[in-house]
Symmetry: C2
């Protein structure tokens, strides 16, 4: 299993300085403002991005330590397979969020609906395109009765360390 190495292209700025109290999905973070600072050397890659109202941020969950294969997600009280959850403590701590893009000012993106921790290293940005990213007739397993309550749920400390 060869290791794969990435270098952050920027950093995410957010009002959430700690895990506790954070919304657990953008759907629960409506209107919460943040920004993305892209490192100067990558700023040219932002050309044409402003035409998109929503973007997908792919980032490293830098405060997540270790992982378990069975986890108790925020939305449930039963153990679930980690890949059937969006829990942050994963074998590869990669997060994705669809956020609203308000403005591009050179290497700074103003964004909204931010469910991401302050200082999170950004790995990639992709334009959000319904034709590519949306599906119909979706079944959502154990989350089917719970996903809609996500707006009111806040994070707690359970994902802070693998030693809990």
């Amino acid at each position: 299993m060869d290791k794969i190495q990435y270098t952050p292209i920027g950093v995410i700025r957010s009002p959430f300085k700690q895990v506790a109290g954070m919304p657990i999905q953008p759907a629960g973070a409506k209107g919460i403002a943040g920004s993305v600072e892209i490192h100067e050397m990558f700023a040219e890659g932002l050309k044409d991005l402003e035409g998109f109202s929503h973007i997908i941020l792919i980032y490293h969950l830098h405060r997540s330590r270790g992982f378990k294969l069975h986890v108790k997600p925020f939305l449930d009280d039963q153990l679930r397979g980690v890949f059937a959850t969006r829990a942050p403590r994963r074998p590869n701590a990669i997060g994705i969020s669809v956020v609203r893009l308000l403005q591009v000012d050179r290497n700074i993106l103003k964004i909204e609906d931010v469910d991401i921790l302050e200082g999170t290293p950004l790995l990639d940005i992709k334009p959000y395109v319904p034709t590519f990213d949306e599906r119909e007739a979706v079944r959502t397993g154990w989350l089917s009765s719970r996903a809609d309550v996500v707006a009111g749920v806040r994070s707690d400390e359970r994902f802070k360390s693998a030693e809990e």
Copy 2:
């Protein structure tokens, strides 16, 4: 800029052995069958996944070499900022696809709508949840008149190497 290191959790099996002729998005890969082989040590993490009809695969675009900040996407003939495209040659060569999950057989996932190259290293799986992943009233910039034709577009060799 600290480097971030990931270890693949498995490998994606697909009928596409080369870049040329590949669909460029799952929307253009409807019904194309493939599978995911999860490494044994992570198989327990697949518990509860079968209840989901669609999953998000996050993977390393292992055949992509180097990047340019301005690229000509498959769907266009003008140079666009790489982050305003889904082009595979990116600063961090991370790909995401929403695919249909047909069956989980221990550590093997049978999937459909596969727009991914054979042998692609898999980094993460997340359940696809419309409440989390879909947005309304979306603007899609330069792609707005082009995204709907994606089903008929096939990849060519332009992303094979940075030396073209």
